[in-house]
């Protein structure tokens, strides 16, 4: 395998990382029954907060932590509206996106065009990074990549194999039954929305402190929306999200690969969005019953109603 191919694969992993982080967060959130369309906004806010804190402190890890905190706090808007006020989750999610995009534009304005002195450095895993091809692709990566894959596996284990995970799932499938079993539906849903927000913000931090080392408005470029599609593609399973996210990472990289062939860059920029539609169509052609969306996804839950 030549160097070009290795470099393509490595960049695929990098491009897929924010998609994986976002998707895992959205999967957790949706498994508890809450549809969060605010990912794009929270991702953008995460990007700007991570950038500003890294820029000021010189430490990208502080930036990451601040971004996660900001993502969790801003997601409270959606949690409050959709859980406590039983509002329409589509509208409330859109509101969160608007606020997130607006806030990030406002906070980030003084930082546009400033390069980051300290970025999140790549980490080579000892021993493993020396394996030919595999080492270069998987084990000489940004820490975000390792975290994303690890967190996806942890999330899978959590949802499928732990008692608390069962509580989360039952909250999304049948909140009334869950509540009679002593599950605090409100608490679970709040927590899942906030965790989802933390993941989205982490994805944003990857974009601004590792992927591009700068901040510009609109740098999330619809990744937050692709995440929502990937959640369906992954059939609400964090394990399957790994495959989906890196498949899409490959499509992002394909744009740059095809550019030297003289194809219009604007046409190539349509690829991820067109591919999203295509993949949803392929899922739609298949057996709809296999699409095991959480039964109560998007439905507000009213306590004590029969």
């Amino acid at each position: 395998m030549d160097d070009v191919m290795i470099s393509v694969l490595q960049r695929t992993m990098v491009a897929g990382t924010p998609l994986l982080l976002g998707t895992v967060g959205e999967v957790i959130c949706e498994r508890s029954g809450i549809l969060n369309l605010g990912v794009e906004g929270v991702m953008s806010l995460g990007a700007v907060v991570a950038f500003i804190v890294t820029y000021t402190t010189g430490n990208p890890w502080f930036g990451l932590m601040a971004a996660i905190g900001a993502g969790m706090v801003i997601s409270l808007i959606h949690a409050f509206a959709s859980v406590t006020l039983q509002a329409n989750q589509v509208v409330s999610g859109l509101a969160l996106t608007m606020i997130g995009l607006g806030l990030s534009g406002m906070l980030g304005k003084p930082y546009v065009g400033r390069p980051l002195a300290e970025k999140m450095n790549d980490v080579a895993i000892p021993w493993l990074c020396d394996i030919p091809v595999v080492g270069a692709v998987f084990f000489r990566q940004t820490p975000f990549f390792y975290m994303a894959v690890l967190l996806a596996l942890v999330a899978w284990f959590f949802l499928e194999r732990t008692r608390l995970g069962i509580k989360v799932r039952s909250t999304g499938e049948h909140p009334r039954a869950a509540e009679t079993q002593g599950v605090n539906v409100t608490l679970i849903r709040y927590a899942c929305v906030m965790i989802g927000g933390g993941f989205s913000a982490m994805a944003g931090a990857h974009l601004s402190t590792s992927y591009s080392k700068s901040w510009i408005e609109g740098m999330t470029a619809g990744r937050g929306w692709i995440v929502i599609a990937l959640t369906i593609f992954a059939l609400w399973n964090p394990g399957k999200a790994i495959g989906g996210a890196f498949l899409f990472g490959g499509i992002f990289v394909l744009q740059y690969l095809l550019q030297p062939l003289g194809i219009s860059p604007n046409f190539l920029a349509m690829l991820p969005y067109g591919a999203t539609l295509l993949i949803l169509i392929i899922i739609g052609l298949g057996d709809q019953r296999k699409l095991s969306a959480p039964a109560q996804l998007g439905e507000p839950y009213k306590r004590g109603e029969r």
Binding site: M98, L101, K109, G284
Partner: protein
Amino acid sequence: MLTIKISDRDRITPIQSLVTNVLSLLAALGAVGLIFLVCGVNPFFAISKIFMGSFGSMYGFKETVTKAIPLVLIGGGLTLAFRAKFWNIGAEGQLLMGAILGGWVGLAWGDTLPSVVIVPLMFAAGFLGGALCGLVPAFLKIKFAINEVISTLMINYICAEFLTLLIVGPWKGKTRFGFPGTDNLPDNAILGVISGSRIHYATLVLALISVVILTIVVYRSRFGYEVRVIGENPEAGRYAGINFFKTSMLIMLISGGLAGFAGVGEVAGIHHYLGYPASISSGYGFTAIIVAWLAKLNPFYAIVSGLFFAGILVGGDAIQMSLGLPAATVQIVNGTLLVFLIMGDFFMKNKVTIQRRASVES
């Protein structure tokens, strides 16, 4: 001990509804003021500047009406789609496709055809463009169960890239000296404005007629009834024999088509050529979502809420210039308003009373 009791509200009077909406808006402005304060801007100054900029002067008001035209058109169409719980988030792309097709007709035949022929043709082409972009997600939703929020959004991005592709490539104008953009539309294809303003009246009239027709359709026609049933009780709709495919396609034909009208208006009335997507639409497709929501999904009220949000856009421009705030400020204001409107909805659906706890709950 005091407790908060929440119970269902059976009915709500128009007065209560209005008061709740106004209170929500005031609360939202309070929250926006708080955000301004945190960002180091005097909130009273900023908020008064927004409204002085948009409604406080004749010039500002004319600009507000100009920006209300696309918002009323799109917001009106969205009330129809949202009634059926068809979440059309793709008005931005539908507007752009309307601008592309309408602009193409104008560029191609504006020299040879008189105004009375070319302008209606452009609007027809624009309607078609917007409608096509709207029909695809409706088709995908009914035939393949594809979530329309995602499909409409993906089409937004595709339309924006498509327009950019055209203006930097095949449609690049000779008079632009290498800069992206088409040549100017021929004079015949340019919409007249009310003198001393940028109000392109043809589109304004079209917008007003559209929402009036929509209001009649929504409240007085069988189709309007079917739209409501699909949104509120799809099970019942299936038993009643409503054709979901036909109704959804028609909803999106109208909703997308009206956004297409708005696109033609922006190109032929304001810019006079096709430029970058961000310059043709300043996020009208997204702002119109809140316009429809504030109108309580009543197409006629979209006139009032459209004017209100146009005012915020114009006022937002004013404070951007005088206070040096970024363009994104308007989005914060809009998002916050939407959140508070949602909160207001809660108080309209539920009765919240604070009472002394008489006995332990059983």
